[in-house]
């Protein structure tokens, strides 16, 4: 299989997984027909030609390098939705959003010109794969399943899945960054609310005494 075809197939994976997940909806019970139908419908919807090019390729022209972690997370989400089994626990998802936010914060502001230091260049050095392996080690030893997913960027990079030869592109992409930041903001808001409620109930208890 040619490298170009591998890149093209990989770039099409993320939109297909994402659209399939959307088409499956939120219904708690999924028939086999609905599962297969959603997967096929997503595929054929993305094959609809627009101005001579199918939607898969329009998406590829905008983002040719969806991150391997985001593709992994969507695969996990789709598997959980289809099988009904929990592959990632809440703590695993939380770790995924924190990792995505941290990567986005490290990469995008500096990578897009905030300072004279270009963090995107680190993706061509040895430091980033080593840092990823170190984070994966820590997560695995803590029993967090995001650690397993963090093996995929190195594997994908080694197998030349992406058009990019920059390791950052295996770790994070704009979609993963936006979802992660949104999830972390929600998480922080929830923590703040819980803390306020705890303080309020503590104050109420003291007044009652």
């Amino acid at each position: 299989m040619s490298t170009d075809l591998i890149h093209q197939l990989y770039a099409g994976l993320l939109p297909w997984l994402g659209l399939s997940l959307l088409l499956l909806g939120r219904s708690p019970i999924l028939s086999r027909l609905r599962i297969v139908g959603s997967l096929l419908l997503a595929f054929f919807l993305l094959r609809i030609p627009v101005h001579g090019w199918n939607i898969f390729l329009w998406i590829r022209s905008l983002e040719a390098n969806p991150s391997i972690i985001m593709s992994g997370l969507l695969s996990v989400a789709l598997w959980q939705r289809v099988s009904g089994r929990e592959l990632f626990r809440l703590s695993d998802w939380t770790a995924a959003w924190i990792f995505g936010s941290a990567a986005a914060f490290t990469l995008y502001p500096m990578g897009l010109g905030l300072t004279s230091v270009d963090s995107y260049c680190w993706g061509w050095d040895r430091g980033l794969p080593i840092a990823t392996a170190a984070i994966a080690t820590a997560l695995l030893l803590l029993g967090n399943r995001l650690g397993v997913l963090l093996l995929l960027p190195s594997a994908g990079f080694f197998l030349d899945l992406q058009e990019s030869r920059n390791f950052w592109d295996a770790l994070v992409d704009p979609i993963y960054a936006v979802i992660s930041l949104g999830a972390v903001i929600l998480l922080l808001l929830r923590l703040c609310t819980q803390r306020q409620q705890r303080v309020a109930s503590f104050d109420k208890g003291q007044t009652a005494c």
Binding site: L112, G113, L114, D125, L141, L151
Partner: protein, 387 residues
Amino acid sequence: MPLFIRWILVAMAWLLCAAVIGIEKQPFMEPSFAPDHPVASFGRRESPFFNEEFINPDQNLAFVHVGSTFEFGNGILGGLWYGGPYEYCHDNKIYFSSLRNGSWLAPRAIMTSTQVENDLGRPIRCLGNPLMLPNADGSLELLFVTIAMGRWSGGQLNRCVSKNGGLTWSRVERLTLSPLCNFSELVRNRPIPLAGGGWCVPIYQEFIGKFPELLWLKDENGKLTARKSRITGGCAFLQPTLIPLGGKKAIVLLRDWTKAKRIFVSRSQNGGFTWSKTVPTNLPNPDAGISGLNLADGKLLVAFNDSTSKRENLSLALSRDGGDFWQRIFVLNKDPDSYPSYPFVMKAHNGLIYVAYTDEGDAIKLVNFNEEWIDELQPKKADTSGP
């Protein structure tokens, strides 16, 4: 997850890490710039020489832009530009010509949007900003920009190679150089060969910030390594013109997007890896392209629009102190209606200096002269306007 499985996965993480590190080479550890075309004594003219002509005299395109010149391995001069009905048109093409027996051959389209789409397997809006990298082995590398969406800020860099003097070209490959959808990596100015092989190409980004960068390219046995480094960040400068000063020393002159309306300069002592703080020169810049090079006697030459408001003329200036202070020496184009812009300066092996620029938006004008002609020009009265 059982502990032993965790440890197996940890071992896998480090094995994969080692594999990734093993396949990625670091070819630009200690780059130094190759000497900028030494003037060959046999080609040096005795008397001052100045000439101007059009590269594409009978092309009749409504729009042409970003002209540049290069030398084939045999010393023949080549010209490169893009054009078509209008700036962001899908029908625009990259054109190529060469100077044979004193006259330019009919322009030939060497790259079209359709060809790029077929090679890359995805749609593009249009193409532009071509730049040729003539390798020592006679092969030609073509760098050019394609726009995925929007305007130039949505541009992406592409590359292809010709091993038969530009008759046929390899498949186009996309260079991934930017983190956000690979947007906004643009090329325009003269590439500089590296002493150890490969190229250092001035590039710039203008998506969210506007800042200059350097692209480091090396093709070893058909495997391309592309890296980039940043000259400065922020939202102020673009379109760097890189002038090597010998060994690892170099300066860049920068197009200004700030209210200062000056050409800015930055210096490097370590082969372009780190750069000094940018400082304004005494030359104005109306947010327009500039191009410069060093001459045989150590002087620096720059072609620029001598205005703070618009591209109303195109001038030459000379620096005798490594780029700190510049003196205007000649006005190449005084006609404000011709909107002369985007100069590209190069020095050929025969000692002639070529300045290609866009004239009236529909022609690429080429001015050529020798260093004797520059020597004969009496610099205008020293500028009093300091930086």
